[in-house]
């Protein structure tokens, strides 16, 4: 069975990550959420307590045993703006994580690979340009595949009721970009240009989790990043500040079957504003992300066996479509999961989680987008 699950995970198409969107065209792209399918099912509210997500390194000790998780994301969206509406779809691998505790000491280690920003998009437009004094109709296509990824190596240690985690982040990734233009006048040769935009940077994160009462826990995390170096076809063209992130969450379990959580995070993307404007872009603005969710267990002894997860989420997006504006995103989520391959000790050796999110994005200037996000997570505990 485990082999089958691993084979299925391998068969799933591997691409950069996160959801493609017209709001990922500018700046560094659409920020990824670095959450597992389980956390996504409750709007991301449990991400600070989820060892399979990469939000807080302190959450690693939530894993009772070594766990490998793979998450896919299928995105169906309709993008609208003044030029019209188009529907699109894509598949991503937003989160891969392996983590587990060590024996005898309350220490867990983990490594994860997740989406930092997604720059998968294709934009088609038509225009009339003046060439040699004559108006000529043109059709343009701008395409990007890739984005920034976040490789995290982290550990978490528990002492005196506190769980403290620390992580080292390597930001990497590349965009394979292409622009094409065809002219109505065949005297003009089509334009086709490609470039690979590569990114590199480092960061560090620190997280804590503290149970206040047996039913109430709080968590907080901070992440600092250095500049991300931007190379165009192996030549450095710029450095861009990657934001400081501060976040926290609270989790309350009023009954053995009900788990509630709420989280908030703020990111100082405006640090990249000058860098992006200097490159000719539309800049960047600070963002906040708020979410709240619930997990209702079907069986209190096996809370991850067919639970019902619900969540809502609100976020602002960092990269304006038009300078001066700030896109926003609202989403609701529904999810569940199953666990199986249980051994005699009651440990589930495998499981799947599914989350369905409906997301609305909007920005001034008539830009809007509605998307269905289907997350599918596979857990394997060898």
């Amino acid at each position: 069975m485990r082999r089958l699950l691993l084979a299925a995970a391998v068969l799933m198409p591997a691409a950069a990550s996160a959801q493609s969107s017209q709001f990922g065209v500018n700046g560094l792209g659409l920020p990824g959420r670095q959450t597992s399918a389980r956390a996504a099912g409750s709007g991301g509210a449990f991400a600070f307590f989820d060892g399979n997500s990469s939000v807080s390194p302190a959450a690693l000790l939530e894993q009772g045993t070594l766990t490998a998780s793979f998450t896919t994301l299928q995105n169906y969206r309709t993008s609208s703006n003044a030029a019209g509406s188009l529907s699109g779809r894509d598949t991503r691998f937003p989160q891969v994580a392996i983590a587990g505790p060590l024996r005898r000491i309350p220490l867990a280690l983990g490594i994860s690979f997740s989406t930092f920003t997604d720059r998968d998009f294709s934009v088609a437009s038509s225009d009339v340009v003046n060439l040699r004094g004559v108006p000529v109709a043109v059709a343009d296509t701008l395409t990007s595949e890739g984005g920034l990824s976040d490789l995290r190596v982290a550990g978490a240690y528990r002492f005196s009721g506190w769980t403290v985690g620390a992580g080292l982040h390597l930001i990497t990734g590349a965009n394979r970009t292409q622009v094409r233009r065809t002219f109505e006048d065949s005297a003009y040769a089509p334009i086709r240009e490609r470039a690979e935009i590569a990114y590199g940077g480092i960061g560090a994160s620190l997280g804590i989790t503290r149970p206040i009462t047996p039913a109430l826990s709080v968590a907080a995390a901070v992440r600092v990043n250095g500049d991300a170096r931007i190379d165009r076809d192996s030549t450095e063209v710029a450095d861009v500040d990657i934001p400081l992130t501060l976040g926290g969450a609270v989790r309350w379990r009023p009954s053995p079957r009900l788990d509630l959580a709420a989280s908030a995070a703020a990111r100082r993307w405006s640090a990249a504003d000058d860098d992006l404007r200097a490159l000719g872009g539309t800049g960047a603005r600070n963002t906040i992300e708020l979410s709240a969710g619930a997990e209702l267990a079907h069986n209190a002894r096996r809370p991850q066996q067919r639970p019902v997860r619900l969540g809502v989420r609100y976020a602002t997006l960092p990269f304006p479509v038009e300078a001066g504006s700030q896109p926003r995103e609202i989403g609701i989520a529904l999810g569940s999961g199953v666990r199986f391959a249980q051994d005699r000790l009651g440990l589930d050796h495998a499981g799947v989680d599914v989350a369905l999110e409906r997301v609305w994005r909007r920005a001034s200037g008539g830009y809007s987008e509605g998307a269905w996000l289907v997350s599918f997570g596979v857990l394997v505990r060898p």
Partner: protein, 400 residues
Amino acid sequence: MTGRIAGTLVALSLAACGEKLTAPGDCPGLCPSDNLVVVDTVIEARLDSTYTGFVEAGEGQRLLVSTGAAGGRRIGIARFTRREDSVSVRDTLFPYVVDSVILGVTVQGRDRAAAGLALEIFQLPATVAVDSTTTFAEVNAALTPTRLIATVPLADTLTNGSVRVFLSGADLARIVFGPADDNVLRLAYRLTSAQPTGILLASSGQGLAGPSFVTWLRVARPDTTVVRSLPRIVQFDSFVDETPLGTPSPDVTTVGGSPSSRALLRFDLPPRIRDSSQIIRATLQLVPLAPIVALAGDSAQLDVRGIFSDLGPKSPRISTSTSLLLTEELTPGATDTVFVEVTPIARLWHAENRPPTAFFLAVGREAGTFTFAQFGSSRSPAGRPTLRITYVLPYPFEAQ
């Protein structure tokens, strides 16, 4: 249960493979147009050279015959192989009697507006060598009425077709071989018309369409008479020009004529264009210094090609693809600037092997056309060759 779950996983994996990323590009926020900067510039030729002698008169596919149009009077000439005194019938040589003679040429072009044309065919004396040293003066001096074999009226509708002269009986006396002729027929083809014009005759380079000379013989044998043909092939054919062009001025960009001239135009492409831009349109602009010489009805065509390397007159021309063989029709008598779209060649300049930023100019059907053009050169005070380039700057992907 686990099997169903695994099957579901695989099905979902396969179903999720499709990608459709495109979103509408609204300007200016999501419009590539704002970042695609198109620039238009004009570059003067840095250096040009004209080389003459690529194709001599008669080495082309057609012979030029004219009465003063398109550069002066021209007379076609042809020399055939020797007609033997006897023929072999079943391994035995027999004397023969000439039954008839057919002389032929093929018309391959004319000015359709010119009417009342006639082609005169003369037999040239042995004193006219009919080779590459033959001059117009010596041929013209030999075109006396006594040497006229036939005058063939060319129908006004004839633009492409064969012309035949059939001689028999007393007319056979119009072809006379003296001792000096050694049975070698030398012919001259002269055009007559009421107004200056010209025609194009197929040369021997086109095989059977070239000038022909066929003798029909009767061989008397003891028991019968054999009738057979004796065709003679062309040993040399060409045309002589009353006013040869001579060596073109080095300060003029010259193409065409006979012997044919070609011109090499070199441009200095700014590094900004060559290294990091894309040429989307390139137009070569040539200013005629004199009306373009060509015959109406002839395909007056300017050929432009790139070169693999600049070796002067021996520069190898790029002809690896028909899309790189660029042509522009020239209008007889025109003095307007000639524009040639050379984008496919100019785009080669971005290639890794970096071909020279130059164009090799020639006329189509060299030495087989009346076309002759002189354009301003890089040394001309005015009318220098220019290249108008429209290019796009590198797209700022990192700024999007």
